[in-house]
């Protein structure tokens, strides 16, 4: 399957998905760890992809999302942003409602 099709399939099947370095249990990067912690605090289930084990996705995703770094959070197939934006939404009280309506 083409990398772009793989990504589109993942986005279509998972309303809340984070592309990160490492895993939620063992993040390989502090920014991925912080984004996962923020998402977890909402109690919403989420899917994740470890881009360090998917080099084709690591390389391709930035051109699709127009976001050059990891982590990247997607809700209903749309890029939300990286660590800073996820933490900003949490601080504003917007993250929980955004993820909950997507997962519902």
């Amino acid at each position: 399957m083409r990398t772009e099709d793989r990504i589109n399939k993942q986005l279509a099947e998972n309303p809340v998905i984070i592309y990160m370095k490492g895993t939620p249990e063992q993040p390989s990067c502090g920014f991925s760890a912080r984004a996962v912690a923020a998402i977890r605090s909402t109690g919403v289930d989420f899917a994740w992809v470890n881009v360090l084990e998917s080099p084709f996705i690591l390389e391709k995703l930035p051109s699709i999302s127009n976001w050059p770094t990891y982590p990247q959070l997607f809700v209903n197939g749309e890029i939300v942003g990286g660590c800073d934006i996820v933490e900003e939404l949490l601080a504003n009280g917007e993250l929980g409602p955004l993820l909950k309506q997507a997962a519902a």
Partner: protein, 93 residues
């Protein structure tokens, strides 16, 4: 040698200034992890994602190669920035 492998703060500021000539630009950090403050009217009406994307795009190559590992962007309009300062003053009264 070192400056071929990592970016320095001045390089980051001058690249942002080329694209946002009227902006106030400040940078903090070292090696390959930086925080960037950009204050410009160009951000009026845009959310954080839409403000960050064009700034990060200026560093696409460096972010992909690892020359730059992390760039945390704070993008404000002058009005928003003035609002922050105003709040501090009120608290001081």
């Amino acid at each position: 040698m070192a400056d071929q492998q990592t970016m320095d703060g001045d390089e980051i500021i001058s690249r942002v200034k080329q694209h946002y000539p009227d902006a106030v630009v400040d940078v903090a950090g070292a090696d390959c992890s930086f925080e960037l403050y950009v204050i410009s009217d160009a951000f009026e009406g845009l959310n954080t994602l839409k403000r960050s994307q064009p700034i990060l795009a200026l560093f696409r190559e460096e972010l992909a190669s690892g020359k730059l590992h992390a760039l945390s962007v704070k993008a404000k309009t002058p009005k928003e920035q003035a609002g922050v300062a105003g709040l501090v003053q009120i608290q001081g009264l």
